[in-house]
Structure formats: C-alpha cells, structure tokens
Amino acid sequence: MSLKTVLLAGSALLALGISPAYAQSEVKIGFITTLTGGNANIGQDMRDAVELALDHMGRKMAGKPVKVIYEDDDQKPEVGKQKAEKLVQSDKVDFVSGFIWSNVLLASAKPVTDAKVFLVNANAGATQFVGAQCNPYFFSTSWGNDQMPAAMGELMNQKGVARAYAITGNYAAGRDMVKGWQDAFKGQVVGTDLTKWPDQLDFSAEISKIRNSNAQGVFFFFPGAHGIQFITQYTQAGLKDKIPLYSVFAIDQLSMPLLKDNAVGVIQTGPWTADLPYAANQKFVTDFKKKFNKVPTFYAAQTYDAINLIASGVAGAKGDLKDKEAIRAAMKKANIQSVRGPFKLGPNQVPVLDIYQQVVEKAADGDYQQLTVSTVLKDSVSSAASACKMQ
C-alpha cells in the first residue's frame, strides 16, 4: 500500500469521526453529584441507586452495556460546570444525570443541552428549567423547587397556622422554595431569613428572632448537613415543642440516624419515602437494603427513576444513540415502573406528582423511620411550568 493510500484512508476515517461501530457499542452516562465534603453521603446514596438500577436491568440498556462516569461537583457551581463540560466534550457521554443542588444545575446545564446531550436531572428543581428555560434536552425525575413548599403552605393552612416564620439558605433553591411557600400560605408571614449558603452553620441569631416573634410555626428548607444543624440548634434553644417546625427536604434516611429524637415531631411535605406501597418501590427498597445495608433516601429514589427513564429512552430508539428524536419521544412517554407509582411527565418534561405529608416515628427496634401520613397535593405541577412554551 502506498503512503498516499494510507494517508487517504486515514483522512477518510478522520472525516467520519470516531468509528461509529465503537461509539455505539455502549451507553455512556455521566453522573454529577457531591462525593466529597459534608454532603458526600447524599452523593454516595445517589451513586448506590445508580448501581442498583443497573443491576435490576442486567447492566444493559437495549442490549448494550452501560458505562457510568461519576464526577464530584464539590457542591460548587463552577466545579459542576467544569465536570459537565468534561463529560460532554472529552468523555462524549450520551446522557448526563445527577445534580443535588439547584445552583450547581443552573451552572452546568447549558454545556450539556447546547451539545444536544440529554440531561436527566435527579433532584435539583431550579424553576428556570422547569419553566421559561425548559429545553427539549432537559428531563427531570424530581420536581420544581416551589412544589414541596407549596404543599407545605397548603398543609399549614389546613392546620390553622395563622402566623409563620420562614428561614432558608440564600441560594437559588432557597429563594425558590420560600417564594413557593409564601404564594401558598394564607396566614401572616412574621419574618423571613435567608442565611449565608453554604457557609453559615450557626443559626443562633435567627433562632433568637424566631423565639421573639409571635410565630405559631416555622417553615424551613435546609437540605443535608444544614438541616441537622438547624434542627439540633432549634431543639437546644428549647423551641421545638413550643413553635412547631414545618420542613421540606431536611428529614431523610441520612439525617434521621443523626437527629434521633430531634426528628420526631417535625412535619414535612415530600415526594417520596420508603413506605410508599407500589411494587416497584418495595423491590427498590428491599434490594437497596440488601445490597447496601441502609434505607434509601428520596435522592436515591429519584435517581433510580432517572436511570430507568434513560433506559426507556435507549430502548425506544432501539439502542441507536444517534437517534435523538426517538430517544426524546420515548422518554416523554415516561413508560417506566416508577418507585412513586403511576408516573407521567408534563409538557416541560418534569414529573406531575403527588406530594405527601411525612412524619418520623421511633420503631420498636430503636430505629427511626419516616412514614407517609396523607396526600397533600395530587398531580402537582410547578407554578413555573406555564412559562414553558415547548412542544
């Protein structure tokens, strides 16, 4: 073979890009979550859920092996963005999933969706992407940030709370949440505090203000480590039995073992807990306990759904990862066995879901478990969803 032929053949290959047979041989998923620092346990729980979901599908989607690349966002928007760019540009993933924090998602989504790579968000509920900035390449298995707080506002109305105090971290999700709650709560808001996020760990000044207000209840949103710190300090100040706490996202299977009795009596609205009676959920919880020796969190549950949603997209395109339209059409059908029972996506490609009232009980064996008390909102949709004009 002459040098010329070799060069010609070589440049022809280059023009074609990487060999399509190779690129199509596996499904590549990039998974961005927090794997170091004070909230690494949440990221770990999500990673465990990915592995379990893959186990349940024989680690194959439409007959193709699945490769997951985990990336740590360090709970920082700028790190999340770098990792998203790396996954899309150098790893050439077909899907990006994960995301605990709204501010990280807000920074990281554009490089993914601009490259026409599907982003299947498993937790962060930034209202922008649920509403005005919805995108054909953006799917979610969680909710909009306003939805759990709206349910809580409604629940507090039902419980006859006339005056309430609101406190949360000063970042994208915190501001979304407190606004969602304010829009639904009909009583008087006697005070609003946004704390420095995520730096502030001492809430003494804010708790003193709460005690000196005439609030009958406190609405708060502090996910992860901050939730434990806030509830612990609130209890130490002797307020827990005087002014009840109304929580979104603070109480989960990671915080309960640390909060212990302090978690009992905190009322919460949430999208999921381990006792939901659906077959897919029972299987998920049982196998998760068996494999990892712990009860999964809602972060894990939503992640499990996200991986299944991705699998349904790959199956819909019969494994042809280049056929983005077919993948999108299949994912929009949301034809999965969700841990949250009947599952459907709205036009903004975010679930339409039921929101439950949850409490914590101390079981006979001394463990703490979260129980579903009632359904507060049925078929809830984010108030931001109407701003999404996508077909």
């Binding site: 000063n170 000044a205 804010e206 100040a237």
Partner: protein, 305 residues
C-alpha cells in the same frame, strides 16, 4: 430589649468560638511565620476525636478531655513530619503544602470516619436552657462555650505573659535570631507552639461540634473568618485576636439579627432577607478594610513585626 441582650450573647458566643480558632492560628503565624491553611483541618480532627472518644467512653466530658492531648500529639506529628522543612521557604510554598494537608485530612477523615458525619450528643445537664431573666431562656451549652472560651483566654494570657514558656514565645515572636543566639532551642519551641495551636483548634472544633455536627470539611469556611480575625487583631497578638474575635462575632450577629427587619421596610421580605445576608457578610470585611487603612498592622500589632 430582651431580643437585643440575647443577640449580644449570641455574638459573644460566636466571637469566643472564633477566638479559640484564631488564637492558635495567630500564635503559629506570628511566632513561626508559617501560614497554616490546615488549621481548619486540625479543628475538624479535634471534633472527630471528641466524637469518637465520646462514643467510646460514653461521656462527653471524658471524650473532650481526651481529644485535646490527641490533637496536641497530632499537631506535633504534623509539625515534625510535614512542616519543619517549610520554615525557610516562602509563604507561597507554605500555602501550597498546607493546602495539600487539607486535602489529605479530608480524604483521611472520609475514609476512616465515613461519609455520614457524626453528632456528639450532649449530656442531660447541658441540654436544657438557663433562665437569664424573665422571658429570656438561653441554651445551657452555649453558656458553656462562653465559659470555656473566657477561661481559655485567661489561661493563654497567663501562659504568654506570666510564665517562662510565654517569655520564650514572646522572645521568638519579636526576634527569632536573637532568641536562638541566646540559647533558646527554637526548633523545640516551634514544635511546642504548633502543638499548642493544634490543641486550641481542636478545642474550638469539639466545642462547636454539638452545635454544628461533625463533618468532613467543617473547618474550611470558619477558617476564613479566623484569618480575618487575626488580620484585624494584629498577626501574632493573642490579645488582638481576642478583641477582634469579639468585634467580628458581634458585628456578624447584629447584622444578621437586625438588617432584614430594617430592609423589609423598603423592599419585599425575600429580597430584603437576601440583601441583608449579603450586607451582613460584607460588614466583617468592611471592618477589616477600615482597620487596615487606619492601623495597617492590626489593632494590637505584636512587637517586633
């Protein structure tokens, strides 16, 4: 009025916690001329030691008491193994090396103690509240923090001003070469000072732990505040750190406590709360800038610097 008194107490309490952390930092920086970013890691390790030892012994007091010598020992090991060769290098090298130590300690803590974090349950006696005056109950444990912080400040004062070791420390701070020439064993003095700094950081960490829980990376955010404190107070001055920690604690608390209410008069509550948070975090840095303009070496510059 009651709220105002309560907020002052909150500010004092935060200030004293900051002082415990800043005192060690300012000693190490002032006397050894070493920028130790890993001071926050020693704070974290102190909290983890206390959490584990509390679990083992079943008593918070014992756990806390045993954690201090453990941290002192850890400090000495770190000084001998990692930092000794850095004294003659410039500050940037020290920053890089001690930043590496932060990464090392974070990974090590995650491997050894797990990702879940730990809590230190308070003994029954410290769980409740003390009635300071009618209508003002205050958490007992936060009083303990104030008491320990003040006791620690007094003993440090006594150590530095009244004892032979203190004299050596002051001599080392004002003129290292001369102290060395007069026969002071500078290497041993440095090891001692670093160990003392580590124990102080650990004390701050374990005192904060029942309030903020024990987490990987828990010392990183508060370390920035500690640096602000020692810059305001004058690097190397324990007295300066004490005054500055009070100022920073009070300013931070008062900002958080009263700014949102003032701003709510003008804009909607969510915007007011968000803006108030930004402004109150800025206050500390504005204070630092003002102090640096008026007194570039800090409020109480250590002699000889």
């Amino acid at each position: 009025m009651i709220l105002f008194i309560e907020q002052i107490l909150n500010g004092v309490q935060i200030g004293l916690l900051l002082f415990l952390l800043a005192a060690g930092l300012t000693l190490v920086f002032g006397i050894m001329d070493l920028v130790n970013l890993a001071h926050g890691s020693l704070y974290m390790m102190g909290a983890y030691f206390a959490a584990v030892l509390t679990k083992l012994t079943g008593s918070f007091f014992l756990g806390a008491l045993l954690a201090l010598p453990a941290a002192l020992l850890l400090g000495i090991v770190v000084e001998v193994v990692a930092l000794r060769s850095l004294y003659s290098r410039d500050h940037l090298d020290q920053v890089l090396a001690t930043f590496g130590l932060i990464l090392f300690f974070n990974e090590a803590a995650q491997l050894v103690f797990g990702v879940a974090g730990m809590t230190i349950p308070l003994p029954e006696a410290l769980q409740g509240q003390i009635q300071i005056m009618p209508g003002l109950p205050y958490p007992t444990y936060r009083f303990v923090v104030v008491a320990v912080g003040l006791a620690c400040a007094l003993s440090l004062y006594w150590l530095v001003v009244r004892t032979r070791v203190g004299m050596l420390i002051r001599a080392g701070a004002s003129n290292r070469e001369m102290a060395g020439a007069l026969g002071v064993n500078i290497a041993r003095l440095y090891t001692l000072v670093f160990g003392l700094g580590a124990a102080l950081a650990a004390l701050a960490g374990l005192m904060a732990a029942p309030i903020t829980t024990v987490r990987v990376g828990m010392g990183e955010n508060i370390l920035i505040l500690a640096f602000v404190v020692i810059v305001i107070g004058g690097i190397g001055s324990v007295r300066g750190a004490f005054v500055a920690a009070f100022l920073v604690g009070l300013l931070d608390t008062v900002g958080r406590a009263f700014l949102p209410d003032i701003l709510t008069l003008f804009i909607n509550p969510i915007q007011a709360a968000s803006l108030a948070q930004g402004l109150s975090s800025m206050l500390i840095y504005i204070l630092m800038a003002l102090v640096l303009v008026v007194r570039p070496a800090g409020l109480f510059p250590a002699p000889g610097r």
